[in-house]
Structures are given as C-alpha cells and as structure tokens.
C-alpha cells in the first residue's frame, strides 16, 4: 500500500511565509500562485493526517478569501477606463508599453488540412441516432428449500454470460468456430456454447447462416 507523508508543517510554513510577505507589502496575492498549496493538500491527504490537514486547509482557504478580496478591488479598478487613459496621458515610453505587452502574447494554432466536405460528412454521421448499448438484465436468485446434489456455481448464470459476452464482443464479427478456437477444455467449450445460444436468443449477438458468421 502506498505510504502517504504528512506535509502539513511545510504547507503551513509556506502559507505563513506568503502572509508575512503580503503584510509587509513585498508581494500581492493576485500575483501569487495558490494552486500548488491546494494541490499538495489534496495529494497528500489521508485518514491519519486528516485532523492536522483540516486546520492547514482553513489557513489556505483564508488566504484564498484574501485573494478574492484583492480581485474584487482590482475588478473595480478595471471598470474605471479613465485610469487607463490617465496612464496614456503620462506619455509612457514605448519600452514601458512593450514591457506591459510582454507576457501577454499568444501564438494561435491553425490547421486547414481537414476539408469542409470531410467535416460535413462527419456531421451527418453524428446526426444518425445511436442505438442504446446492449444491456443484460440480471436474473433474481430465488431462495429454495432443501438441498441440491448438483454443485451450483456461486456466480449467477447471467453474470457469467455477461462476462462471456464482454470477452467476445470485441472479437466480433468473426466466424462461429473462431469463438471457441482458443479453448481446449471440452466442458468449457460446452459452457460457452450455452452462453452463446442464450445471447443469440436474447438478440445481443446475431448469426448469419450463409457465411457462418457471428456479429453484433
């Protein structure tokens, strides 16, 4: 079993460090990444350190609330377009503007190799209603009085049939014999044959007589 470590002290130290720097004006929370703190908390949480981590989480959450408060103030500032014009009136040098722009550039990605016709035909295919995936209803097991001499498997018949179905469905379509090809045990082949008969009767698998093929 994987052993989880307790990072509560280290995370708390990091939170305190951020708070001290914020209070001294050294940093602003809006520029500070808090995701790593929550990621660490999430990844190293376990039942043994739950109590300690809850108080660390409280401290981290307090920091997040402070960040939201800073964001609220910032949004109020953004709304004042006059502030931006005031900045322009200060006649900032081109280098200062370019510094502002740096870190904001985006490199768009575009490919034109997929033609529109191809896209249209794909759309048509998507529009075709997809049938519901095949489901097998489980049969209720009944309590009966008395004992049986026959050995009965603990697994339900339908469960075993489902297992068989899930095992072979990716193999389909294929020849009838191909389904039994890999099995050497005659009893197992007979058991699988019974499942197959039931699946054919339920319509989960279909059989084409002319080609001796099984398909979904």
């Amino acid at each position: 079993m994987e052993e989880f470590k307790d990072y509560s002290e280290e995370i708390n130290r990091r939170i305190e460090e951020i708070q001290t720097k914020v209070l001294s004006g050294e940093i602003v929370l809006l520029d500070t990444e808090l995701v790593s703190i929550f990621e660490n908390l999430k990844n190293s949480l376990n039942i043994d350190n739950l109590n300690r981590y809850s108080s660390v989480y409280k401290n981290a959450f307090h920091l997040l609330i402070q960040k939201f408060e800073e964001l609220k103030i910032l949004i109020n500032n953004i709304d004042r377009k006059e502030g931006f014009l005031k900045f322009l009136r200060l006649k900032p040098p081109d280098s200062e503007i370019n510094n502002l722009l740096s870190g904001c550039w985006v490199k768009p990605f575009n490919i034109e190799s997929l033609s529109f016709n191809f896209l249209e035909s794909a759309k048509e295919k998507l529009n075709i209603k997809k049938g519901n995936p095949a489901t097998i209803d489980q049969v209720e097991k009944m309590e009966v009085k008395g004992t049986f001499l026959l050995e009965i498997s603990e697994q339900k018949f339908t469960e075993k049939m489902s297992e068989f179905y899930n095992r072979i469905k990716n193999q389909l379509p294929c020849g009838f014999e191909d389904i039994f090809e890999s099995e050497q045990d005659q009893i197992k082949i007979y058991e699988n044959f019974v499942y197959l008969l039931h699946l054919l009767q339920l319509g989960k698998i279909k059989y084409q007589k002319e080609t001796n093929f099984l398909y979904l």
Binding site: L74, K81, D94, S102, W105, L119
Partner: protein, 171 residues
C-alpha cells in the same frame, strides 16, 4: 471521427485574415447540439478537449473581440519573444496599444484625432496605415475613425493585459 476531431478543425480553421476559430453558436450548430442543456454540453466538450490537448502543448482560448473560440500554443516564458509579432517594431506595438485603449473607451471605435492627442508622436497616421496593412485595424480617414479587427484579440491576451495594467495603476 468524433466530436473532438470536428472541434479541432473548427477551432483551428482560419476563415479570413482576421478570423480564426468559431463562435459558440456555430459549434452548437455543427455538432447538432441544441435544447436546454446545450450550454452544458458545450462547456463539457470544451473542457474535455482542453484536457485532451494540454499534453500536446495546446490550449483553447476565447477572443473577446470576435467572440470566437480558437486554439493556441501554450507559451513558456522564453517563447513570448517569438510570439510577439512586433518584436522588431516596438513603436507600432505602442501605437496599437494606444488604439486598443482608445477603442475600449468608445465601444470599439476610436477617433484618430484622440489617438494623435494622446500619443503625441509624429507620423501616427503612418503607424495606423502600417497596422491596417498588417490587418490589425480598419482606418477611415474621411470619418477620422479607426476600428480594431479581431486579429489582435487572437495574438494578445487582452484580459491579461488589462489586469497587468490595472495592477500597475494600483501600485
């Protein structure tokens, strides 16, 4: 072929010089998504595709100037220089910045005279003409106005720029 392939095509398609990607409505129409949960389906698809393409170094972005969703490369700090289309033309970048702020002030259209007053540099008209040639704006000298095309919204994270500027002003 699945929804993601179609989305990849739509988000990376360039319909003209200024327009890349696709609007939310077009995505919904192309994928035949409608009904009361269409927005939920849309958000799920965008989020899932976003997670899917992240290891490829790509991301899905939104251009507020054209309301188009599009694909972009995730940029490392060292790549910002190569992504800057004005790396060797800082003067043009600054004029475009003035135009952007003036356009924000007046719902997308700015007066050339206003930019001239604020920029206080010679040959502003030449700068604006160069920017028009590059596809960033449309100039109407008769009316004395300038309008941004959506192009800069694809190449510049305008939200980030505004936050940077607001933080600068706050300081």
């Amino acid at each position: 072929m699945n929804e993601f392939t179609i989305l990849m095509h739509l988000l990376s398609d360039r319909s003209n010089k200024f327009q890349i990607g696709v609007s939310k409505r077009e995505i919904l129409n192309k994928l035949n998504l409608n009904g009361k949960n269409e927005s939920l389906h849309f958000e799920t698809l965008i989020t899932q595709l976003s997670n899917y393409i992240e290891p490829l170094g790509l991301q899905i972005r939104f251009n507020p100037l054209s309301s188009h969703w599009y694909l972009a490369f995730q940029i490392e700090a060292s790549d910002y220089v190569s992504a800057n289309p004005f790396a060797d033309k800082p003067r043009l970048a600054a004029t475009l910045f003035y135009t952007l702020i003036c356009c924000l002030e007046r719902l997308g259209v700015a007066k050339i005279q206003r930019i001239k007053e604020l920029r206080k540099k010679k040959r502003i008209i030449d700068d604006l003409k160069d920017l028009e040639k590059e596809g960033y704006l449309e100039l109407d000298e008769n009316l004395g106005i300038v309008k941004l095309t959506p192009l800069i919204g694809y190449q510049l994270d305008i939200n980030k720029l505004i936050i940077k500027l607001a933080l600068k002003l706050k300081k």
